[in-house]
């Protein structure tokens, strides 16, 4: 197990270097002189310009600049946002909100998705199965911002069940609608995964053995079938997290949730490139770390993973 943990973490290092390099390269390729941009329309003093370029290492070759940037990323310094606040301060304020929203979405995703998927798998080909398949395909195809608007318009505005925007008070009841919207496409993915996995598990010998031992359906379905069907669902969690990050950007923006996603959304809308880049970097790093953690949990749950070369 220790060996597996070490190997998995070592595998992540080139990916980490590669992703930060890619992002940094894109920013480097950005046209225009960033120091010149600080002065707007004014013509800066050449000596001051040179001094600032030296301060930000802009006079160094590309690879040296990248190494400075990598040092900053590794030491947890993500720079300053467009409005002058340090990215770490903004993160400290906004991250808890996004974490709460994402956690709510994951709970909805797991509970609703797995339940519907299980029932659909057990009733393969019946009306419930077919209708859940059609609905999940629909939710997979509708872009998240459309779901946001439809939820906001019908559930929030027409029916008045939820507040249409969240604002400063990001408490759990206020976050229910954004969380449902955020979870919708993940629920659809989970329904399909669980259904397929349940149908496959039902054909296994151990299920037949369980029944022939005289166990009741009540025991076989949750303990033998469901538990084994959850393996692909757990694996999917890592990829889900990527969808969550993008979804949170759009959902938080539309519902005005004061989270990390909203900060990125506002920065994109206003064209604040440095903020966009630092928040995307943070999100990508988060995504990498979450995927490592999920892989490790997965290795604990399923011993086969640890021994496969």
């Amino acid at each position: 197990m220790v060996f597996y943990v070490i190997r998995r973490i070592l595998q992540a290092i080139p990916v980490l270097i590669g992703t930060t390099f890619l992002i940094y390269f894109l920013v480097f390729a950005m046209p225009g002189n960033p120091v010149q941009a600080l002065f707007g329309d004014k013509t800066p003093n050449p000596a001051l310009l040179a001094e600032l370029e030296k301060q930000y290492h802009l006079n160094e070759p590309f690879i040296v600049q990248y190494l400075y940037y990598l040092r900053d990323v590794v030491t947890g310094n993500f720079g300053v946002s467009f409005s002058g606040q340090s990215v770490n301060d903004v993160l400290a304020r906004t991250f808890p909100v996004t974490a709460r929203l994402a956690l709510m979405a994951v709970v909805i995703e797991m509970v609703v998705g797995v339940t519907i998927g299980l029932v659909a798998g057990l009733r393969k080909g019946k009306l419930f199965d077919l209708s859940s398949l059609v609905i999940s395909l629909l939710f997979l195809s509708v872009p998240i911002f459309v779901i946001c608007f439809i939820g906001q318009f019908f559930l929030g505005f027409k029916l008045g069940w939820f507040r249409t925007t969240v604002g400063a008070d990001a408490s759990i009841p206020n976050l229910i609608l954004p969380a449902i919207v955020l979870a919708s496409s993940l629920v659809a993915i989970n329904i399909r995964l669980t259904r397929g996995s349940v149908i496959e598990t039902l054909n296994n010998d151990f299920v037949r053995t369980a029944y022939s031992k005289g166990l009741s359906r009540r025991r076989v379905i949750p303990v033998h079938v469901l538990r084994n069907s959850l393996i692909p669902v757990t694996t999917q969690l890592g990829a889900d997290f990527g969808i969550l990050l993008v979804g949170a950007t759009v959902t938080e923006g539309i519902f005005n949730v004061p989270g990390v996603g909203n900060t990125l959304y506002q920065a994109i809308i206003r064209g604040e490139r440095p903020t966009v880049v630092s928040f995307v970097t943070v999100m990508v790093l988060l995504y990498l770390v979450v995927n490592i953690i999920i892989d490790l949990i997965y290795a604990v749950l399923d011993p086969r993973i640890r021994y496969v070369k």
Partner: protein, 319 residues
């Protein structure tokens, strides 16, 4: 004694006449009939499925709309917009009503199809083909080539492609057009095709008929092109269809965020983005382009899924 008179089993065997064995059935197989392969099997299954036909008809319809928008509407999408008619409801001339700028919603949807579909098709042309080539090279050569290419793919794969596209688009905001948007999306979606292609090449490469080909003295390259690649392609086509759907969604999301196609270009994402401030007063201007987008994406998703289920005997059994 009766026990002694019974025939001893070990001494003589009973051999059934050929007519009573399955050999007879095997002999009756017509060799002159039509040959069956993966594609003909899939086609036999596909043509019986209504979902396949419905999705294909919609895809064809949207392609025709994208290529010849003037066949479907005579109302110009931008010229002749009257601010007097801002957010007006449906009428005989404007069946879906008018936008905030007083432009015809239906006409804008028809003329916007081109941009959305173009981005989708360019993305799969770029990332699908790049992914298939890289995946097949990795699978075919194996060893360090495989490791290098796949680790490179991992790097691109570990950045969610919409976030990557947001960065690329905000960096190159000065040079935005359909190709740049497609490039920004495609630059980070190729690894998913490459992974599928590689695993398929590895699977086919190790199958018995390829070994038979090797034993018959065929060169590795000939085997690759004549046997391995044709048999690895089907799942790649499925993934490509699904990534086309994802690319259309991605373009709309980018345009919605304001970093996609320039606001002057007619596309569904731009129309939805422009309509969001009037959601309460005139939801139709937001709902109709969304509906067009959803039906298009859904058609490609259903097309891909039915294709996947028909091409894969295992998935056929799951139905």
């Amino acid at each position: 004694m009766s026990s002694n008179t019974a025939p001893r089993r070990s001494a003589d065997h009973f051999v059934a006449p050929v007519s009573e064995t399955p050999v007879a059935a095997i002999d009756q197989v017509k060799l002159s009939g039509q040959r069956s392969n993966l594609w003909t099997d899939a086609w036999r299954d596909l043509r019986r499925r209504p979902l396949f036909w419905v999705s294909s008809i919609f895809i064809l319809l949207f392609i025709v709309v994208a290529l010849f928008p003037t066949l479907f509407t005579s109302v110009p999408p931008n010229a002749g917009c009257q601010l007097v008619d801002s957010n007006a409801g449906p009428s005989a001339d404007h069946i879906l009503g008018l936008t905030k700028q007083g432009c015809d919603v239906y006409s804008r949807i028809v003329h916007g199809a081109g941009a959305s579909l173009a981005v989708g098709f360019i993305v799969i042309a770029l990332s699908g083909i790049t992914g298939a080539i890289i995946g097949s090279i990795a699978g075919f050569f194996g060893g360090w080539v495989d490791s290098v290419l796949m680790r490179l793919g991992d790097i691109f794969f570990s950045i969610p492609y919409i976030l990557a596209a947001v960065v690329i688009m905000s960096v190159f905001s000065a040079y935005v057009n359909v190709f740049v948007v497609a490039l920004a999306i495609g630059a980070f979606t190729w690894p998913s095709t490459a992974r599928v292609m590689r695993s398929e090449v590895l699977r086919v490469k190790n199958s018995d008929f390829v070994m038979a080909g090797t034993a018959l003295g065929q060169s590795r390259l000939a085997l690759m092109f004549k046997h391995v690649l044709p048999n690895s392609i089907p799942p790649v086509i499925v993934v490509t269809t699904l990534s086309l759907a994802a690319a259309i969604t991605a373009e709309a999301t980018l345009s919605f965020l304001g970093v996609g196609l320039p606001s002057g270009t007619m596309s569904w994402g731009n129309d939805i983005s422009a309509a969001q401030s009037d959601l309460r007063s005139n939801p139709a201007t937001l709902i109709y382009p969304s509906l067009a987008l959803t039906i298009t994406v859904l058609s490609f998703v259903i097309f891909g899924e039915t294709l996947r289920e028909s091409l894969d005997p295992k998935a056929r059994a799951l139905r």
